[in-house]
């Protein structure tokens, strides 16, 4: 148990011990969400700014609810309704938020490294809610939490991430988290979206989906991100579905206790058969529930001061 960080910028710089600290803390916050009164006063009087320069629905709602359940005051700031349209820079926006005494800034931005930049120009704690194709740390933490809850461990598990890896911050953060915690990660998808260079992150890369999911304990599906692809990386959606989509025939050839995850939003009938998304082996909605607990845990840990952990 250790946590002395002010910001959550990425998973890459976290230790396995720090990741486990978040997961253990999240367990307690999940229990809070199951009570009649789901709110605790841990962030009473603190101000959190949700700075979503790139559109987001589920992550923003999850953070908002996490903040409300911790009794923080919240300011929401989105790209379309903001001064960005009027030409203000990210730095000036952040300094303005600081002038309002924001204690936390949760930032989603299309540019990789935007949260790291903010952490150098303002005093508030920065939480990365997704920066370009770089990282989405709270997603990886909630995925690890969900896996651990079902499999009771992460070390030694085979986790296959299937889909658009190249443009996926979820994939990158998951690769860091899972390999740090001792899982064997296999990446699979069209060769244009899953280049061999990912082997340098300590994973196995294959373009054969049946082989990729055969021994998997967890099959983690990613959405094809049309909005991030500058040119067409594969012939068409239909071809993707037939070559890489998770259907009943493919699922029948996996381990019977293999579980299915997806960070959402799900494109039914593209990367996953509609029925499979709703089946008992799918953890998709649990991931949403756990996301709330993990985000509460992250805010709670970052709120800690510099002093010793021990109570006098």
């Amino acid at each position: 148990m250790s946590w002395n960080r002010k910001h959550l910028l990425d998973i890459e710089s976290l230790t396995a011990d720090e990741i486990i600290t978040v997961l253990d803390t999240a367990k307690a916050f999940k229990a809070v969400g199951e009570r009649a009164i789901k709110k605790v006063p841990a962030l009473r009087g603190k101000t959190v700014v949700n700075l979503f320069i790139e559109p987001s629905t589920r992550t923003r709602i999850s953070f908002e609810l996490a903040e409300q359940r911790l009794t923080a005051d919240i300011v929401n700031f989105s790209a379309d309704a903001s001064s960005f349209k009027k030409g203000e820079t990210l730095k000036d926006t952040a300094l303005n938020l600081e002038a309002l005494n924001a204690d936390f800034i949760v930032i989603r931005h299309s540019a990789s490294g935007a949260p790291h930049f903010l952490s150098r120009v303002v005093n508030a704690s920065i939480i990365n809610a997704g920066d370009g194709a770089h990282e989405h740390p709270t997603q990886a933490l909630l995925d690890a939490f969900t896996i651990r809850e079902h499999k009771e461990k992460i070390a030694g598990l085979n986790v296959t991430i299937l889909g658009d890896i190249l443009y996926s911050r979820v994939a990158r953060s998951n690769i860091w988290a899972l390999t740090k915690l001792g899982a064997q990660v296999t990446l699979c998808g069209p060769s244009t979206l899953v280049p061999k260079t990912f082997e340098q992150m300590g994973c196995r890369v294959t373009h054969n989906v049946d082989e990729a999911i055969r021994d998997a304990d967890i099959i983690h599906l990613l959405r094809i991100q049309h909005e991030r692809q500058r040119k067409t990386m594969f012939p068409g959606i239909g071809e993707y579905t037939s070559l890489f989509g998770l259907n009943k025939a493919r699922l029948a050839k996996t381990k019977p206790d293999a579980l299915i995850m997806h960070p959402g939003p799900v494109n039914r009938g593209v990367e996953i058969d509609s029925e499979i998304a709703d089946c008992a082996r799918s953890l998709i909605l649990e991931q949403v529930t756990n996301g709330l607990a993990v985000r509460m845990a992250v805010l709670f840990l970052l709120n800690g001061g510099k002093g010793p952990q021990e109570i006098a």
């Binding site: 253990d24 307690a28 009649a36 709670f300 840990l301 800690g304």
Partner: protein, 176 residues
Amino acid sequence: MPEPTVILNSAAIQRALTRIAHEIAERNEAAAAVVLVGIPAGGVPLAQRLGTILAEIWKHAVPTGSLDVSMHRDDLDQRAAPKIHPTIMPFDVAGKTVVLVDDVLFSGRTARAALDALNDFGRPKHIQLAVLIDRGHRELPIRADFVGKNVPTAITEKVRVRLGLPNQNDEVVLEK
């Protein structure tokens, strides 16, 4: 560094808990309405031991839970985030007499946080506080209903309660 002074040895701890249990029994005629809630980490094993002794006195089982108070503390931004222990409340506290159990009563801030945390689970009829050691230095208007031992301390000293550790007798020590 001077040797720590033993304040209570294993037998003295057991005697103190037996006395506290009898005081709880004396104070609460409605035995069926009493539940014990330990404050982690130190209060949880004490609540269980008190529950065992009370069950012998009352001839029925006494429900016991644990209530983590970290999320309700008032010093969260002044030190590293605390480790959160499990909260297990296997009963409805509404209308009950809740006896909060902790190992050491010091500033009173943990007890205050516990009152707030308990509030989230319902409205008990009564809340009472039992502690093994009261070491003084209160910062809030809080006092314990049941005390194992009052120990005058200097604010710089530390009181350590060691219960159920492997290969070690239970004891309470004062470290300078």
